[in-house]
């Protein structure tokens, strides 16, 4: 039922070397994942489980300590491959540039002719609902709009793999739902493969075709859940009974891992009571 293979991580580990009295940190133990063309994959897991490390290794922003990463059949080696776009959790808009110039940044860097820059930027800003703010500076926009500027900056480059590192982490719940709808629209329109990192189970359940539940550090997949949502979907699916089942399943798998991440015993409440 899956399409063509788009990216693959095989036996990937990532160890941050120790420094002084600090021992090395094992962020990822051997992890394998295959991403298929045009799918929407989300990763959820407790804080500090290595989700962002996973994304950075996949993007080529970090070298794996062992294992290989391939994108469109080519090995990714410490450099972001052509066709990969990344949106970060932090506000990465450039405050000294207007919304328009933010969106055009990558195109101008790549020497794209100005007429094509104009066409793509206008299209991306219209798509992200930023057309009326083209001459505004990021400081004049809300957090959600600034994040949309960053998405527009990625979108104009027409990436085939879009990596989203908790892009809505700093937004309120309602805005996150609406931004989720926009990401789904973007995914359908571009046909790109989308890889989302989030700590919000409901966000993952609403957006993704497949959800990888990660263990506490050192991170690895404890389960990959298929949501089986239709491609044409939006945030109204949160009212579906299946949505509750998916989030319930995710929480069942992640509760113990989250407790571990907090430094608690991972035992179930009933077992704890029996103790």
């Amino acid at each position: 039922m899956h399409g063509d293979l788009h990216a693959r991580l095989a036996g990937v580990t990532r160890v941050y070397p120790g420094a002084g009295a600090h021992p090395p940190v094992h962020a990822l133990v051997p992890v394998d994942l295959e991403l298929y063309k045009g799918e929407f994959f989300a990763i959820v897991g407790p804080s500090g489980c290595g989700k962002s490390t996973f994304l950075e290794v996949l993007a080529g922003l970090q070298q794996p300590s062992a294992g290989t990463v391939t994108f469109e059949g080519k090995t990714v080696r410490g450099e972001v491959a052509d066709g990969i776009g990344v949106v970060f959790q932090e506000d990465a808009s450039f405050p000294w540039l207007t919304v328009w110039d933010n969106a055009a940044f990558g195109l101008r860097r790549n020497g794209i002719r100005e007429a094509e820059v104009r066409r793509r930027v206008e299209d991306a800003l219209a798509f992200m609902g930023l057309k009326d703010f083209a001459r505004a500076y990021p400081s004049q926009l809300s957090g959600g709009m600034r994040q949309r500027v960053c998405i527009a900056r990625t979108l104009v480059l027409q990436p085939r793999l879009i990596l989203l590192d908790e892009p809505f982490g700093a937004l309120d719940a309602q805005t996150r739902l609406l931004m989720g709808d926009e990401v789904l629209r973007l995914w359908r329109r571009t046909g790109a493969t989308v890889f989302l990192i989030t700590h919000a189970l409901d966000e993952a359940a609403m957006l993704a075709d497949r959800i990888g539940a990660m263990s506490a550090r050192p991170g690895h997949f404890i389960e990959i859940i298929e949501t089986r949502w239709p491609r044409e979907r939006d945030s109204t699916i949160v009212a579906e009974p299946a949505f509750g089942k998916i989030t319930g399943r995710l929480w069942e798998r992640l509760r113990g891992e989250s407790l571990k991440a907090l430094g608690h015993s991972a035992m179930a409440p009933a077992a704890a009571a029996a103790e």
Partner: protein, 252 residues
Amino acid sequence: MTRIGIIRLLVIVAMIGALELACRTGLIDHRVIISPSEMASALANLLASGAITADIERTLGVIIMVIVLSIVLGFAAGLVIHALPRVREALDPFFATYYAVPVFIFYPVLIAIFGLSPMPIVMIGVATAIVAMIIATLNGLDRVPRVLLKVARVHRLGRVATAMKLQLPAAAPYLFTGIKLSVSYGFIAVIAAEFILSPAGLGRDIADAYADFNNRRMYALILFLLIIATIVNAALHALDMRWAERHSGGRP
């Protein structure tokens, strides 16, 4: 003009008016301070006579040289020190206590080395102003958000392009603070150095007028320096506000 700007202007006008009134009514002895209108008239006469043109050229020339050298060298030094963390660690205490050292004490030594040329004044000025620029450069580069460096890698920018396109614009507000401080320190250091030992320049002129009890000339020169300093600072302030407006959504 903004409401605060109008209030600021009114306060200045009121203070000048009060001083004018106090001088004209004899509340302040004219041997101590002359009235502002008399200062302005004395300055106009001085400028028209050309008597201080050479001193103005010399002093402003030295100030501009000091400011340019401090900004350029301070920025370059800041970049180098930022790239060398161990050197920075060694220099940090020195920067923290730098302005506790009165650099003017080295003026006689510099005169002994360079003679009575503008060079010792330039050196005193640069020594006073440069550290503010170095510290501002270090602060600015420290505060470039790490995520921007990741964005640079996503866009596959090289080191130079990352510095020019992202790091410098991101650090610009801090660099501008360094420029403002360097301008102020450079101005103060040059006038003070001229005042103490220089054979020429506006600072020397003020000192001579003071020694000769020539209040009209002394206050005219002081007024001239105040006007120049105010214009320069107002221009820098306006630029700063414009920058802040972009960066903080009109809430500088």
